[in-house]
């Protein structure tokens, strides 16, 4: 353990562990899953970090406001983490926070697309999205009110997303929708993140790169299932959807997969060498649909991430692992709360809630 590691992580490690300790425990989560109405859910949230959901719902009766609050809270918490650390580490945390910015931007762009390209009335929906600063200076109102594709590009001209926006054509948007732009933004996020990660000290860099490579591989597999099978996307386009990094893109199996016609693409063959356990799981599925296969990979990714973050929490405390683990647990808990809120709103029983939330 170096003194600089201790100095850098001692405070943030204690702070984040205390926050993790304040997260919902199994007993509280069980109470939430048993709730039959939103009011009950908020009653059980009392005394937890989600306590404010109750008063907010009493004030508005609007569950989308609750989702906005959850997002806004996540942004605040992540920004606070970035403020507690310095130098290249702070840059990496900011780059991780950029993921929230990309998600928000995708949300605003989807609304813009519905409004300007599809000619639909988006009404109040923009109001639920985040309007404040996250990482880059984005005038969110300018984006949603951009008159056409060129004005839209102009609003994001001074952001790291300018290149991706400039590659976008109105005709492509009309024919293909937002999907390719969205994946381009995800890739941009990953590239920006990888760029700042190179400035980290060796131990932290290796740890972060390992996590990013694994995530990139599994997310790429998910995309290959979705677009390689369902939409039969051609090889070049399929390649352009891939997140940078990881080991998968360098394998022969990947090349064989993208080159092959849809009916000959084998997912088990693709993952067989890199993820043996996943290959076994996929083999055990009988006549799976592409969605089932993608769900299996998603579940596998979740399990692998959970396991690795738990290991980070139990392991050496003075490295970047604590930040990763905190972000993961925070995101997981927020997703659960969001799922439970929506599930209760749509009248799901607790068994179904449990299936989707956990």
């Amino acid at each position: 353990m170096s003194l600089s590691d201790l100095k850098r992580y001692a405070f943030i490690n204690a702070k984040l562990r205390s926050r993790i300790g304040g997260m919902l425990d199994e007993h509280q989560l069980e109470s939430l899953l048993q709730s039959q109405s939103l009011e009950e859910l908020f009653h059980h949230c009392q005394g937890s970090v989600y306590e404010q959901l109750g008063p907010l719902f009493n004030e508005t009766g609007d569950i989308e406001r609750l989702e906005s609050w959850l997002f806004s809270r996540t942004v605040d918490l992540h920004k606070e983490v970035a403020s507690l650390i310095e130098g290249s580490h702070a840059l990496v945390v900011s780059a991780l926070n950029r993921k929230l910015e990309v998600e928000n931007l995708k949300g605003v762009l989807r609304l813009w697309f519905s409004n300007r390209i599809k000619g639909m009335n988006i009404d109040y929906r923009y109001g639920y999205l985040y309007h404040k600063h996250i990482v880059s200076d984005i005038d969110w109102a300018a984006v949603i009110n951009a008159e056409d594709v060129d004005s839209l590009k102009e609003t994001l001209a001074h952001t790291p997303y300018a290149d991706d926006m400039n590659e976008m054509k109105k005709e492509d948007l009309t024919s293909e929708g937002m999907f390719f732009l969205e994946t381009a933004l995800d890739r941009r996020w990953m590239l920006l993140l990888r760029d700042v990660v190179t400035h980290l000290p060796k131990k932290d860099r290796l740890l972060v790169e390992e996590v990013l490579n694994r995530d990139a591989d599994l997310k790429n597999i998910i995309n290959l299932v979705r677009f390689g099978y369902v939409y039969n996307v051609e090889a070049a386009k399929l390649r352009s959807l891939m997140l940078p990094g990881g080991r998968l893109l360098k394998t022969e199996e990947f090349e064989e997969f993208v080159q092959a016609p849809v009916e000959k693409r084998s997912l088990v063959h693709l993952v067989g060498k890199l993820f043996i356990d996943l290959a076994k799981e996929l083999t055990s599925l009988t006549n799976p649909t592409a969605e089932e296969q993608a769900s299996t990979v998603e579940a596998y990714l979740f399990r692998v991430r959970k396991k690795s973050y738990q290991k980070m929490l139990r392991g050496y405390p003075f490295n970047f692992g604590i930040i990763f683990a905190y972000f993961f647990l925070e995101e997981r808990q927020n997703t659960m709360i969001r799922t439970i809120i929506n599930g209760i709103h749509y009248g799901w029983k607790s068994e179904k809630l449990r299936e989707f939330a956990l």
């Binding site: 009766g61 569950i63 109040y124 639920y128 109102a141 009110n145 008159e147």
Partner: protein, 667 residues
């Protein structure tokens, strides 16, 4: 007041099945029995008995009760308390009726919430429009001034219901003003064309239109807020009219839930019910009488004395002394004492207040803390609806004690808001710190006082430990443990030798052979710890691992070395740790002197302002710091001497929420 934990007795009772319900209700009303399932006491017997699983029903009761509590919360009402319920008089709940009642109420509330949601969406539209109008973002909005040729403005209102818009018809104007979002032109323009909207070409009206629109938007937002408040009121009213029914249902469910928990601890033969549990000794006659009454005398009751049961299995209750509750919380926060040992609460109260006083010796600032405590208690008493979490009535009570402690210490050391306004009872602490005390006392005097104070606290902890060990008949640890008699003796000799050394001007240890013998004999005895322990265990018939003589000697030597380190280094560190009391006290004086010096650099109001701010800062920072340090010293230096924290807490099933914590020796 009992110095030790409350003595308990184990009840085992057999009643006929037909009276089980009455017995359960009696036991619930009494709320003093901490049940133990027979499978725990007599596993071989319990396999021949049956149990009635009520877990599912209990969960249903809990869920419904929780739903009802949610209703109270939405109506801004306090959740009922079960304390006033009488289990014998409460009717059993009809789950179907209650569920249907709660469902109907929930549906009604949900319908009102839908209205609220629409208002929330309307507010988003208004907020967005207002922000653009205020910032004059004319690229984002369209302001049309004109009139419809075909139809009326009402058509616009109808068709734009799901859009962000404002339609104004200013009294003095022939034209109407229509504000819409530019991005919604696709929807707006075709409609305006249909209605043959004629735009007024006079551009001069735009500025006044913006002012009018801003006012209208602000008015609409305020109106939206009013409407939302009305909906909230309707929700509250809808629940309030049902409060009595809800309270009744809540009571039924709560009682049934607790009766279910009691049933979970019952075992049955074909015709009888058997149960067992711990009761405070003083209450055993009362429990016996209640069971006999409920069963009409058709019962068999057997009491087992606590001496016949393993100490670690007996639940621990301490007598509730209301004035000591803040200190009881400190003890609870640490752990539960072992059964039959000393209750640490009164000792913590004394040591905590003494430590606080020594660290925060200022009568004026103490008075402020006392007043804060009194005011807080007053407000909490007058508004029982305030949620008590960290800030609770016990915390305010603690403020009263801490304030009083600081006042007494301030009077002893003559400090009133940092000034010696009244002659000190003992000596002037401030002058001692700055080195101008009349009798020559200085910071070393203060350090010496706190070290003596630490020795007294540690010594008291050791004596309490010996009392506990005698009560537990744990002779081995009483003699050989580092906190036992040998450890205590070495601590005493160490203190004597250290003060003699300091007394000689840090030159010589006490003369004569006494010191050598006083140290050597206990150290030699301590060397016999491992063989003595092994001998005791063998004598007691315990299974002992076989070891060679060499291994035993090695183990003995190693344990001896560890014990020596723990005794000498541990006691030294524990004692010196009390110097923090002096440190905090000195820091307190230094801060007050600093603020006083700063105040002297100015005059009049500025000087008073600096003193006021200084006092506020010192009260907030030093007050908190002294509280934390006093707690730390109690937990780490005092408790570790005698408080093992290995006790099992007493948890009777009761209608009173704190039944396990509030035991009165003569209830």
């Amino acid at each position: 007041m009992m110095v030790f934990t409350v003595p308990m007795r184990l009840l085992t009772a057999v009643v006929l099945d037909e009276v089980t319900e009455d017995v359960k209700k009696q036991l619930l009303d009494l709320g003093v029995l901490d049940f133990i399932h027979l499978s725990h006491l007599a596993p071989e017997l319990s396999s021949k008995l049956t149990t009635k699983g009520e877990a599912v029903e209990i969960r249903e009761y809990q869920t419904l009760r929780s739903r009802i509590e949610t209703m109270f919360q939405q109506a801004g009402e306090l959740t009922p308390t079960s304390e006033l319920l009488d289990a014998k008089k409460v009717a059993p709940p009809n789950l179907h009726d209650i569920t249907s009642f709660v469902d109907t109420l929930s549906d009604d509330v949900s319908a009102l919430r839908e209205k609220q949601k629409q208002l929330s969406q309307q507010k988003i539209r208004l907020d967005e429009l207002l922000s653009y109008v205020k910032e004059k973002k004319t690229d984002y909005i369209d302001i049309s001034i004109g009139k419809v040729e075909k139809g009326t403005n009402d058509v616009i209102r109808q068709r734009f219901a799901n859009q962000a818009y404002i339609l104004l018809e200013p009294e003095s104007w022939d034209d109407s003003i229509l504000l819409t979002l530019q991005r919604e032109r696709n929807q707006v323009n075709p409609l305006l064309e249909n209605l043959q909207w004629i735009e007024n070409p006079d551009g001069s009206k735009q500025e006044s239109a913006i002012t009018l629109l801003q006012k209208q938007l602000q008015h609409d937002i305020a109106s939206n807020k009013d409407q939302n408040n009305q909906v909230k009121e309707q929700i509250s009213k809808r629940i309030v009219v049902e409060l009595e029914v809800l309270r009744e249902y809540w009571g039924q469910l709560r009682v049934q839930e607790l009766l279910g928990h009691i049933s979970d601890n019952f075992s049955h033969t074909r015709n009888t019910t058997i149960f067992s549990g711990w009761v405070p000794k003083d209450l055993s006659q009362k429990v016996e009488k209640a069971i006999k009454e409920a069963s009409g005398g058709a019962c068999v009751i057997e009491w087992t004395d606590d001496t016949l049961m393993p100490r670690e299995e007996i639940p621990v209750a301490v007598e509730d002394v209301p004035i000591l509750r803040p200190f009881q919380k400190m003890v609870d926060n640490y752990s539960t004492p072992e059964y039959g040992t000393i209750n640490p609460t009164p000792f913590v109260a004394v040591s905590y207040l003494a430590m606080y006083g020594l660290m925060f010796a200022d009568a004026g600032q103490g008075l402020i803390i006392l007043l804060l405590g009194l005011l807080g208690s007053y407000f909490l008493r007058n508004d029982p609806g305030i949620k008590q979490r960290l800030i609770s009535k016990d915390l305010y009570k603690l403020f009263i004690y801490l304030g009083s402690s600081a006042i007494v210490a301030g009077a002893i050391f003559g400090s009133y808001f940092g000034y010696p306004l009244i002659k000190p009872i003992w000596f002037n602490y401030h002058e001692a710190v700055v080195g101008s005390e009349a009798t020559g006392r200085d910071v070393y005097t203060i350090l010496k006082i706190t070290i003596w104070f630490g020795i007294i606290v540690i010594g008291t902890g050791l004596i309490l430990n010996w009392i506990n060990l005698v009560r537990k008949k744990d002779w081995f640890h009483l003699l050989m443990d580092k906190n036992g008699v040998l450890g205590g003796w070495l601590f005493g000799v160490g203190v004597w030798a250290a003060f003699s050394f300091v007394g000689s001007g840090y030159k010589t240890l006490p003369e004569g052979d006494f010191l050598v013998y006083a140290l050597a004999i206990p150290l030699l005895l301590l060397f016999g710890k491992v063989p003595f322990k092994r001998y005791s265990e063998l004598k007691a018939g315990k299974k002992v691992e076989k070891k060679s003589i060499g291994a035993l000697i090695m183990e003995g030597v190693l344990e001896w070395i560890v014990d020596l380190l723990e005794i000498f280094a541990g006691f030294l560190a524990n004692t010196l740790s009390f110097m923090r009391v002096a440190g905090l006290g000195i820091a307190h004086v230094s801060l007050m002197v600093a603020f006083s010096d700063m105040a002297q650099l100015t005059h009049g109001a500025a000087s008073i302002f600096i003193l006021v701010i200084g006092n506020i800062l010192v009260i907030a920072l030093e007050g908190l710091s002294a509280g934390i340090q006093a707690l730390r010293l109690n937990y780490y230096e005092f408790f570790t001497k005698y408080f093992t924290g290995r006790g099992l807490s007493y948890n009777p099933i009761s209608l009173r929420p704190n039944a396990g914590k509030q035991i009165h020796s003569r209830t």
